[in-house]
Symmetry: C2
Subunit: 365 residues, 2 copies
């Protein structure tokens, strides 16, 4: 086990193979996302999957809501650079068709496949093919329908119901000797989610897929997901994860990857922008420079630490651990490396472009 992985010792799990990706405590926590394009639009679906894979997604999920989608899935699988997970609801035949088409894993909520024989057919076929299954129980599926009743239910009670549902499904899978299972128990709020995973972790050794179902505006989704998943990862729980964010799913991958990095569960794999809190000494618009560099460098996949400092005097010293520093002064800025400035004065209006160029140069392969 690497140094990184031991900072928050992980709960021991069995390993589940999803084609080339191994999920479980002996392997790095993997990042997933989901495309929004329909499978039938093969070109659009493949293009989105490639973008997610380029951003760092190790697994990509897509909805398979119709026989036409299941049929199109084969062409998508053939061209995907990463294993695909088919999201199936209500229909065992779609699950069988998705496996036939090449899905490396299927995600089902057994609660919406009510006939046991249908479910067993899916399980047995997955067993024959070596296809993994994620059992996904969301809080929505165990919530009372009545709004006032729902508000009275404490997260702990909803979490208990989710775990009870998951355990009853596990019984069905284990009766068929199927154990290539990943479990998710996503709530739409942090306490429900944290308690559901905590209790589930005690009841089995299956790997856990973490997530919070409520997407939301970007900052809200980042805050809620980082708080909930940060809590679980710090307790050693979680073997794969998806961050749900309204909008372009590439953001989900960037945030998921970065969450693992900040938890010390993955090495830095992109550009980290460090910036000092602004203070009275700040002479230029440091915030805007830091924000622009942050957005512009998110897709770079080479590790680099960049410090953006608001003062030419203390900046170089304070940021001596950065690979590249930029200190912004009155009317100009300077670069520094390892605590030493390069000497060149860069006019303020060129500072973003010049810094970005320097970052690209340092991260070019």
């Amino acid at each position: 086990m690497s140094h990184c992985e031991s900072l928050f010792p992980r709960r021991r799990t069995r390993t589940v193979r999803v084609a080339s990706v191994l999920i479980g405590s002996d392997h790095p926590v993997s990042v997933q996302s989901m495309i929004t394009a329909p499978a039938e639009n093969v070109e659009a679906a493949v293009a989105q999957i490639v973008r997610l894979a380029d951003a760092g997604a190790q697994l990509v999920r897509l909805a398979v809501p119709t026989p036409a989608a299941a049929k199109a899935l084969r062409a998508v699988c053939d061209r995907s650079p990463v294993p695909l997970v088919a999201d199936i609801h209500f229909n065992a035949r779609l699950a069988l068709a998705a496996m036939e088409a090449g899905a490396a894993k299927i995600r089902i909520n057994p609660g919406n496949i009510p006939v046991a024989d249908d479910l067993y057919r899916v399980i047995d076929e997955a067993g024959r093919r070596g296809t993994a299954i994620r059992i996904g129980v969301n809080s929505g599926s165990v919530m009372p329908r009545d709004r006032d009743d729902a508000r009275q239910h404490a997260p702990q009670e909803i979490a208990r119901r989710m775990v009870d549902a998951a355990r009853s499904y596990l019984d069905l899978f284990e009766r068929r000797s199927f154990r290539d299972i990943v479990l998710s128990l996503k709530g739409s709020d942090v306490p429900t989610t944290v308690w559901a995973y905590r209790h589930m972790a005690e009841a089995c050794d299956y790997p856990l897929h973490l997530g919070i179902t409520a997407a939301g505006p970007r900052e809200e989704a980042v805050l809620k997901s980082a708080a909930g998943l940060g809590a679980l990862l710090a307790e050693g729980l979680g073997d794969t994860l998806r961050i749900s964010i309204t909008g372009d799913p590439v953001n989900e991958v960037h945030v998921g990857r970065r969450l693992l990095e900040v938890m010390g569960l993955a090495p830095l794999a992109g550009v980290e922008i460090i910036s000092c809190p602004t203070c009275g000494r700040c002479e230029v618009d440091l915030t805007s420079l830091a924000e622009k560099l942050y957005e512009a460098t998110r897709s770079i996949r080479k590790p680099l630490r960049v410090a953006v400092m608001g003062c030419v005097v203390n900046g170089p010293g304070e940021a001596r651990e950065a690979d590249l520093g930029v200190a912004a002064g009155r009317g100009f800025g300077v670069f520094f490396r390892h605590g030493q400035t390069t000497g060149e004065k860069i006019p303020q209006d060129q500072l973003f472009e010049r810094t970005f160029d320097e970052i690209r140069r340092l991260t070019a392969s």
Copy 2:
């Protein structure tokens, strides 16, 4: 203890009074921030404090780096709507002057007040006045100076040094029978911070002030702070907190407040924007509508849940727990409340303005 507070049972602490604000496990977790204006600019300092208090800050900190700042502090304290915390470095006389000027709490790192008699004078004066003291040990103050050496030090080792330093300072305070102490052990990364607080929590019953020192661009700071502080709060640790973000400190207060809400540690006190993940059914730019409403409503201090849904068919049903819903369809949108649409079709180009107006109407006092 309220329902909210019991979702993640808090570690038992003693209570520390900071003027009207009580810090400890018998009281809600409080939100702090820090102004960037110098105390000498009394008008600017007071204006910034008022903005932070309006946003929900219960305590506000400001730097007191010079005798002139300490002198100006009295006028700032007189006009502040919330208790003020004076940030003191290196100079015991500034700590005495800040207390004299009316600071309700002072924050010091005893490691940079090396003469024990100077420190004792500060402690004894605080005891006489009933002024609380935050002992703040940051990872930077225990890090090896050499860069390569620093990189070899695991977060666990840095955390241990921070706790050892804090414990040795506590000995000095307790020798003077002073116990109105709040402790902070902020690292610049999540693992260091989490381990420092975990170990400190076992060693004393003082309230903990949570934070991660590395500010950064807004999303980076939100992610890192939510992950680290979410982990600690879910373990019951933390009695007051500050989120550090490069830029306007009002953001720090919004994010801090919202973090407590999503952890179930504070009731909803503003507008929550819920939005569905976009999918093939999305017919308008849902992401942009959700983002604009999120930014526009951040300063509202009345609780309201607003669901922004991308489809007119399922939206109302899926968002029936929201106080106000808006479903966006092709060319127009509809409002709905409690799962029922109001019937009116709102042209797409008016949708943001009309929704924002409705939110203001519903949150007007």
